[in-house]
Amino acid sequence: MTDDELDGILSAKIKRSLAGKSLPDAFSARLAASVRRSAKTYRLKMAAAALAGTFSVCAILGLAAARPARNAPQGAVAAYPAQNSTPAEEISQLGILGVLRECFRRPGRPRRRKEAESIRFTTTRKEEK
């Protein structure tokens, strides 16, 4: 038997053997369900990533908030912190960001050292007068 003849016989037999093979009826529905689940998981991951990104940006702004302006009147910052704070400080005064700042503030340090010092300085000057 030549190789070509053998090839012909093998090809016919293999195709005949495989003709009866088919996927189960539920296969298509199972695949569609899996595709649907993957799309849902992807959307949830994107939403979680967007939330985490927004939260990170806010936290960075809050943590990097500038100290009271150097040219603010002494005592004014302590008396009216909202009016004399920088935009970053205003953002950081939002509830959760304020909590974060407190968490990352070094322990033992007063909350607004410079304000406390400026009040003391003002008071001392008044007494001198």
Binding site: L6, D7, I14, L18, L23, F27, L31, A32
Partner: protein
């Protein structure tokens, strides 16, 4: 509408159509590559899942079945590496059964005996058998799909032919 455009627009409908158009053909190829029918079904499922997920990577210039087959082939090879089963280095002598007629599932004259004999061949030989005898690909076309030289495909087909001829002879007697 072209299949890949349909998958891009609506993945669920595209998945249904994918199974309709290529399910039987890909499953038959998987049956030859895997040890049993349930493994073949699982392999086809993962292939279709991956194809739908990565449909944007499909090049419309290429034959769609060839792309599906490449995905399936990669999964099969990853599975074999994990299980360290029936992957032999290219060029190494194939671990062919001594006597196909003594193989436990070999039933003389039955198609299933032929499938079992093919399943006992090393994976590279099975790939060549599937592409040449089932998909009717020429040696050059099979070589292009497998990414090997045509001489390698000829060598693999020759070794597979010897084993299958021995099985056919055994089944006649």
């Amino acid at each position: 509408m072209e299949l890949y455009r349909e998958i891009l627009e609506n993945r669920e409908n595209g998945a249904h159509r994918l199974v309709l158009e290529y399910g039987k053909r890909l499953y038959a190829a998987a049956v030859l590559l895997c040890a049993n029918d349930s493994d073949a079904e699982e392999l086809v499922f993962r292939t279709f899942e991956q194809a739908v997920k990565k449909i944007k990577l499909y090049d419309p210039q290429r034959d769609f079945f060839t792309w599906l087959y490449a995905i399936m082939r990669n999964f099969r090879r990853m599975d074999c590496r994990r299980r360290r089963v029936d992957v032999v280095p290219v060029g190494a002598p194939a671990d062919l059964p001594e006597s196909p007629s003594t193989a436990p599932e070999a039933i003389p004259g039955a198609g299933d005996g032929l499938l079992q004999t093919i399943r006992k061949l090393p994976l590279p030989l099975r790939e060549a058998v599937m592409l040449h005898y089932f998909e009717d690909k020429s040696v050059d076309e099979a070589a292009a799909i497998l990414g090997v030289p045509p001489g390698t495909v000829k060598s693999r087909l020759h070794r597979a032919r010897e084993a299958l001829a021995a099985f056919l002879e055994g089944s006649k007697s």
